[in-house]
């Protein structure tokens, strides 16, 4: 019999925290877009992982198949993700909340299946390799300059991920506090009231969705660099649902809450890898979701507005 044991030694190792740190930043960026859509605009985007996939694959295909430079591919892939958001949003943002949610789930799944089956372009289930050479060169020289040991090889990516998060966080915070952000919150409260005041509610929903698409694409580039290999399995619908858990734990309407939520949920997700239990890998994978569920229940019971959410706003939104 295997004994039930929890080894905490992993939590003392820097590699664990570097890995968690990178994933926290990637998920936080993904969730910033979700916060703009759900917390600010009230549009239920359940397909955020779709933009992450479109961004990552557009970048990889441009580099590997079309021979673009990695740096030129980033703005181009971001524009492609924005174009997807606009094309998806134009017909679907006229739908009421839950219909829109279903349309976005469908979008993300369609993206994943297309990636899986368009072998010629995306490598299908085999995945894509070799898009990150430009980055590896920089990462290696940074590693040498900083005198990092081999087990700290991911520190450069950690730095870039957090700098990117900091920049996007600042941009979204400024957007949220601007009159544009105020208009998104007004649309969330009552679209007809906004229209009656002479403002095009539909255009604001579309803009919010497009910004979320761009932000989702950026998280996709960082995920691609972290995995150094893209496969459709990295973009399951569960990515969006984990992002939702982060959003709810952190609090609707709060950008700092996104970072807090991403940290808590990611530590639970990654920490479970180091529990030594008499369970198969498959069972451990399920256990992680049970733990996320418990965290959600705990937050709902103790602080329904989320850790950094505003209780009064939640009550007034009804």
């Amino acid at each position: 019999m295997t004994t039930l044991a929890v080894s905490l030694s992993a939590f003392g190792r820097p590699e664990f925290w570097i890995g968690v740190g990178i994933l926290v930043a990637i998920y936080a960026i993904l969730t910033l877009g979700l916060q703009l859509n759900i917390g600010y605009t009230g549009i239920y985007n359940f397909g955020q992982v779709g933009f992450m996939a479109v961004g990552a694959y557009a970048m990889a295909v441009l580099v590997v198949e079309a021979g673009w430079s990695f740096w030129a591919s980033l703005p181009a892939a971001t524009l492609i993700a924005v174009a997807f958001a606009v094309l998806l949003g134009l017909p679907t943002l006229r739908l009421r909340t839950h219909y829109f949610a279903i349309a976005t789930i469908a979008f993300a799944e369609i993206v994943r299946y297309v990636i899986q089956n368009a072998d010629g372009l995306t490598g299908g289930s085999q995945g894509v390799l070799g898009f990150e050479i430009a980055w590896q060169t920089i990462a290696l020289s940074l590693q040498a300059d900083l005198g990092l040991a081999p087990e700290l090889a991911l520190v450069p990516l950690l730095i870039v991920a957090w700098v990117t998060l900091a920049v996007l966080f600042a941009v979204l915070l400024a957007l949220g506090r601007s009159p544009w952000g105020r208009m998104l919150r007004a649309v969330r409260e009552d679209e007809d009231a906004v229209r009656a005041l002479g403002k095009n509610a539909y255009a604001y929903k579309l803009q919010s969705f497009a910004v979320a698409g761009a932000v989702g694409a950026v998280s996709g580039y960082l995920l691609a660099l972290y995995l150094s290999f893209l496969s459709p399995d990295a973009f399951l619908a569960s990515v969006t649902f984990i992002s939702f858990a982060m959003l709810i734990v952190g609090g609707l309407g709060s950008f700092p809450g996104v970072v807090v939520g991403a940290f808590i949920v990611q530590v639970v997700l990654e920490g479970t890898r180091y529990l030594q239990l008499p369970l198969t890998d498959h069972q451990v994978a399920s256990l992680r979701y049970i733990l996320i569920g418990l965290v959600l229940i705990l937050v709902m019971a103790l602080r329904p507005q989320g850790i950094l959410g505003r209780r009064q706003e939640m009550v007034l939104r009804g």
């Binding site: 919150r185 409260e189 009656a196």
Partner: protein, 262 residues
């Protein structure tokens, strides 16, 4: 020569399933007037408001505002041109503050454009200050100055009606369509609302079209009364004449319900 009417509604038809909610309604609203729109429940008054302000598309008919057709224009474009409505059930933005509610209505605000905010993050500050000053001035006028920082969802029903009217004024409207402005408002707030309407007309030449069930308000505060029943306009006259019109009395009492309206 009389001035051209500010609002012309011609032969509007709209069915919901089998119900002919608006069945060929038409009327004019004279510039600078206070016109009441009355009629029994289900007469099609609110539906007609929805058609006129672009929220619902009519099957047939024409609406022109200030000399230009607005029949197929979206609601926000109509409101931005100065024909602004309020709702029977107030639509305050509950989780925004009272001041934010006002600022949402500020016209020509560069800070509401995504590109401006991203590219020139300071370019909108001046307009924001102007809009804020105007909003606070209006809130003071309406006795809501003390609530500027509160969430709009915490206001009483009567205060919400005042906020909705004050917010509409941020757009600098020339025609205000009010859907039951007195409903659910206590008498002293109601008097204030009427005083505001009178003052806006006198000082800024704002035209009013309002749906109302309180006959005392209708008779004492309007220059013209339009009466609807079963989707049509059955009377359009001065208050004292409408009051005496047998068709109007019939419509309210339902005496000739079986016969087609005259």
């Amino acid at each position: 020569m009389a001035e051209a009417p500010i609002l012309t509604v011609e032969d509007v038809h709209l069915r919901f399933g089998g119900v002919h909610a608006v069945a060929g309604a038409g009327f004019h609203v004279a510039r600078g007037s206070v016109t009441a729109l009355i009629g029994p429940n289900g007469a099609g008054k609110t539906t007609l408001f929805n058609v006129v302000t672009g929220f619902v598309r009519a099957e047939r008919g024409r609406v022109s505002y200030d000399g230009a057709p607005v029949t197929r224009r979206p609601p926000h474009a109509i409101a931005a041109r100065g024909m602004v409505r309020t709702f029977q059930l107030t639509k305050t933005l509950a989780a925004l503050t009272v001041l934010e509610n006002m600022l949402i209505a500020a016209p020509r605000h560069p800070g509401e454009r995504l590109t401006t905010v991203l590219v020139r993050p300071r370019a909108w500050r001046r307009r924001e200050r102007e809009a804020r000053a105007r909003a606070l001035e209006l809130l003071d006028d309406f006795g809501l100055g003390g609530t500027a920082g509160d969430y709009a969802g915490t206001l009483s029903g009567g205060q919400r009606k005042l906020l909705e009217l004050a917010r509409a004024l941020m757009i600098e409207p020339r025609l205000l369509l009010l859907d039951e402005p007195m409903a659910g408002v206590n008498p002293s707030l109601g008097r204030r609302l009427l005083e505001h309407m009178e003052r806006l007309r006198a000082e800024q030449g704002v035209t009013f079209l309002f749906i109302e069930h309180d006959m005392e308000v209708v008779m004492n505060h309007s220059d013209r009364v339009i009466v609807m029943a079963e989707g049509q306009v059955i009377a359009d006259d001065e208050p004292h004449a409408v009051r005496a019109d047998p068709r109007v009395i019939d419509a309210y009492l339902g005496a000739r319900r079986q016969e087609p309206p005259a």
